[in-house]
Symmetry: C2
Subunit: 281 residues, 2 copies
């Protein structure tokens, strides 16, 4: 089902990639961004048909509106989108935390046509200049219905996700937010803490492992502040688990407990190999 009229609110890496992918499918895409240079890049790269800073123009006539701005901005814009979009429009977001978005969606007049989304995809560079129509190819795309989402909307969102080349995965907001606290938000904090632990003079002995481990720390802080604020409880719980493992590894190193270290590293290695395979699958 292409030939949709799509409004994409936010032309960062994810929004512009999604716009470009849908446009390549035959959809007509209007982009919204408050940043003039983001609009210009998205237009120049052919990722959108039109771009502007007027929310009403972006969502007018839309069959589908996708919100691709930071989580708290999604929550703030939802009532406006609800008011401005046509009655038929499906409203979806791509934020990294789902509970606050789902709560806000449930309060909308258009709640039956609203559904949460979260593509498990990303890059270490941001903005529409880094956008890639293939960003979602073979990636999981979590779809999180609200208690009021109707079946037609869920099916519509699934078809959009498939058009992006991604694999839809229906899940509950609470489960989603608990899992991404471990798989995404915890790694972000670990990468940040590691980068903060490195001294400026250490750079000459930085190998590829350290570069891999600190890459996430270079992500835009503004996006992350929203994520951390919106999922603090789950993040604190994931962090506590991880701190426990770190302390235990430190104690084993300090006491020279070789067998304990080897056991822990073997268990971790099995999980790491499993994750590495899921990535390339």
């Amino acid at each position: 089902v292409t030939g949709r009229q799509v409004g994409v609110v936010g032309l960062g890496l994810i929004g512009a990639s999604l716009a470009g992918a849908l446009r390549a499918c035959g959809d007509t895409v209007r982009g919204f961004d408050v940043d003039e240079s983001a609009r210009r890049v998205a237009l120049e790269r052919g990722l959108v048909d039109r771009a502007g800073d007027d929310l009403e123009a972006a969502v007018a006539g839309a069959d589908l509106v996708v919100l691709a701005v930071p989580v708290l901005t999604i929550v703030r814009l939802l009532p406006n989108v609800d008011r401005l979009a046509p009655d038929r429009a499906v409203i979806m977001d791509v934020g990294s935390v789902k509970r606050p978005v789902i709560q806000a969606m449930e309060a909308l007049g258009s709640a039956p046509r609203a559904i949460g989304g979260h593509p498990i995809a990303g890059k270490s560079v941001s903005g529409p200049q880094a956008a890639d129509r293939e960003l979602f190819r073979d990636r999981t795309f979590a779809l999180v219905p609200t208690s009021r989402t109707d079946a037609r909307t869920a099916a519509y969102a699934e078809s959009v996700v498939r058009d992006l080349g991604a694999r839809p995965l229906l899940m509950d907001a609470g489960e989603h937010d608990r899992i991404v606290a471990r798989t995404s938000h915890l790694p972000q904090l670990m990468s940040t803490a590691l980068a903060l632990s490195i001294a400026p003079e250490d750079g000459e002995l930085a190998g590829p492992g350290l570069v891999d481990m600190t890459r996430l720390a270079a992500s835009p802080p503004s996006m992350w502040v929203d994520i951390l604020a919106s999922n603090a409880e789950n993040i604190v719980s994931a962090l506590a688990t991880c701190l426990g493992h770190l302390e235990s590894l430190g104690q084993m190193a300090a006491s020279g407990d070789g067998p304990g270290l080897e056991r822990a590293m073997s268990t971790a290695g099995t999980m790491a190999a499993h994750l590495g395979r899921s990535e390339t699958a």
Copy 2:
């Protein structure tokens, strides 16, 4: 100065890569490994001229002996290499921790011709099947003289490092071990702890960031047990610093301290960008 007779003790990723790189320079390389399949792979891939499980045969007639086995095995084998190698031979290692190796080298009869080494290079896969003659190209290669290393030996080791395509960096063992605790051993523990914090059902929401962050955790545990045991004091200190940052980030997330989080992430991002640049330089 090529055309050297080189004995390489240990045909894992680093030893076999180094053997292949020196052989490509015109050196004649004899490899030693207790593992028959490692010897066979190194021979089949043309990384060594000969390979065997007799240490005496590997170091007999050598101008240069390189020990590329786990740190505690280096310490254990050094007296044998000292006894078996010709009087002219330079003895070098490539272990990831330098203080115990340097102490063992200082006790040798051949101490003036012994020098510690550590190439800042690696891969997430191990063994001679993953060896790469270009592994050291444009990488830092730390050279750590003992208190008894003579100037001729240091110059010889520098020329070997340049033949590998690497950048020699002379440093003190204590300084080396403090820095790699932060740049290598801490990231390894962080990656391990993160992998231990992931639940089996989380895999579907694993993105590229998590895969990057857990790649180190799949490294061979046996090598790491030696490293952690040999550098425990520095590692515990680096870990304490990092735990402090993690706890502080967790508190800021829990209390909704957006400006604090944004400041910490900006500082971390600057360091991460610096490390990323040093990598590609």
